[in-house]
């Protein structure tokens, strides 16, 4: 049975040599920011990995996360990892439809109970009992709960699944929530991004396969290996920030010279992701390299955090609207207090009775 053979054996059947395998493990170690000396250990662990089943649930999403992954397919690391997976349910990619698709999901859950990896793309609407998004008559909420029960690991791919994303943006008519809110008692690996970087998605799965556990996560449930540093800290344009060289407009000299995009609204300083180092489209570029400020798409509520094109320090609310009236309130209150003081003084003045020294009898005063 192909499913029972170990990874190296399957790869050899595909004509992949041990050196190729070692090379990919070196790439994986590099990707996971492990010391290069770890490559042989990864090779050893992966050699023994059984073919894991993956169930990929798509809820309130735009499929860009899947697109990000499938578009990255030259025979690279992502391909290698996905060749060794058994993608049992993914309603965009699978041939089956309707009841047959759902049967495939239930069969896989049954056969791999406690062993499969659950990947969720998209947020889950919970308003009105979850009627806003259903698949085969099953609400997203029910499908998630049912499928999560037997999963060995749960990965939220994309900002929608991780933090609610666009559906969760104000006014959130569908009551969209992230996976972590529904499965509060489970460890969820969040792989946010709109969409996430493909190698980050595959890297997380590779980590689970290699080490048999989820990677180290930060306080927002993200693997620190990919989300450990801000875009700003790893940005090749950082020296321009430090030297006060900014693009002020999209077509000015600074923009042409590739200076820092902070003033154009770059959210790099508060955004944690691997774009600055992993880049996109087989390492071609990333937004900042292409001259566009970072939107902060891998952070919760990036959609509601103020304009994309206003500097990070600009408040996301109209401060003047509140503070200008407050000045009036302050001045009016001060004037009222001042007038009250004057009235008191005037009253005291009126009540004052002239007193001559002779009027005072000893001991008083």
């Amino acid at each position: 049975m192909a499913d029972e053979a170990d990874l190296l054996e399957r790869l050899r059947q595909q004509g992949i040599s041990r050196r190729s395998f070692l090379k990919y493990c070196a790439g994986l170690a590099s990707l996971l920011a492990l010391p290069p000396a770890m490559a042989p250990r990864i090779a050893e662990a992966l050699e023994r990995a059984r073919r894991p089943a993956v169930i990929w649930l798509s809820f309130q999403e735009c499929t860009a996360c899947t697109e990000s992954l499938t578009r990255s397919f030259s025979p690279t690391l992502e391909n290698l990892i996905f060749n060794v997976l058994s993608l049992d349910y993914h309603h965009t990619l699978q041939a089956a439809a309707g009841r047959h698709a759902e049967d495939a999901r239930r069969q896989s859950m049954e056969a791999n109970r406690g062993k499969y990896i659950l990947v969720v793309e998209g947020s889950i609407p919970v308003a009105e009992g979850g009627v806003y998004s259903t698949i085969a008559g099953i609400s997203n909420l029910d499908m998630l709960r049912e499928t999560a029960a037997g999963a060995a690991a749960i990965v939220s791919v994309g900002t929608c699944a991780a933090y609610g994303g666009l559906p969760h943006a104000r006014p959130n008519p569908t009551g969209a929530v992230p996976v972590s809110e529904i499965l509060a008692d489970r460890t969820i690996v969040n792989v946010p991004g709109c969409p996430p970087i493909p190698v980050v998605i595959s890297g997380v799965i590779a980590h689970v396969l290699t080490f048999g556990r989820v990677p180290e996560l930060d306080d927002l449930g993200r693997p620190t290996v990919f989300y450990g540093q801000t875009i700003h800290d790893r940005c090749y344009r950082r020296p321009f920030y430090d030297r006060n060289l900014f693009a002020e407009q999209f077509d000015d000299e600074g923009a042409r010279n590739g200076w820092c995009l902070y003033k154009l609204g770059c959210k790099g300083p508060t955004t944690r992701n691997a774009c600055a180092t992993e880049k996109w489209n087989q390492g071609t570029s990333f937004p900042i390299q292409s001259g566009h400020p970072c939107l902060g798409c891998s952070e919760p509520d990036f959609w509601d955090a103020g304009s994309f094109y206003q500097a990070l320090t600009a408040p996301p609310v109209d401060v003047a609207k509140w503070v200008v009236p407050a000045i009036g309130v302050g001045v009016a209150a001060g004037a009222a207090a001042g007038l009250a003081n004057r009235l008191r003084k005037a009253r005291a003045e009126r009540r004052r009775q002239p007193l001559a020294a002779d009027d005072v009898k000893g001991g008083e005063g």
Partner: protein, 221 residues
Amino acid sequence: MNTMEMLAWVRGPGLVLSLSILVIGVGVRLVEMLLLGRKPDLSEPRVAHSGGYGWRTILTRSVLPSSACVRYRRIEFLTGYVFHLGLFLVVFFFVPHILLIEAVTGLSWPGLAAGLVDGVTLITLAALLLAFWFRLTDPVRRFLSRFNDWYALAITFLPVLTGYLAYHRLLGEYNTLLVLHILSVEVLLASLPFTRLMHGFTLWFSRWYTGQMAGRRGVKV
């Protein structure tokens, strides 16, 4: 509440709240103080128009250190100047700060390089610590210091410290430090009208009166 939610709060509602407290507080105190007026001085003035002395005093006491003051406590005097000038540069010439002011008021001006502001911040921190040390070790000033004085020093020091830590990602991750930085600034803003930090507004009036009164009495200013 995660870090990003806290950041969103301090950048939005927190800022509005603290700025509102600031402007209401400053408005009430300034207008009330000015409406109190001054007692008429019935003495014969030595100089006909003493207002000019007031303006001159604002200038001399703010820009040019008077030799009489410097003579006694040279280091303390210098420390005060350094941290005030440092605060001014850091607050008003760090580019992200200018962008905040621009977004709120529409006013903008050129900033200093982040690396330079970094150096100024370090000097300012050192000067503030020195000011704290002088207040702590000098028996007279220590005796005169009350909670308000220590509090004012602390809320001035913390925004600079947290800003420095955030810039260098020291003792924590950036977003947490940024939240603490903004929060400490908001505590400062909201406390300003009710502490001795109100001198940022009142000193101009008091300096003018000091100069004017001195001029009227024929005292050299």
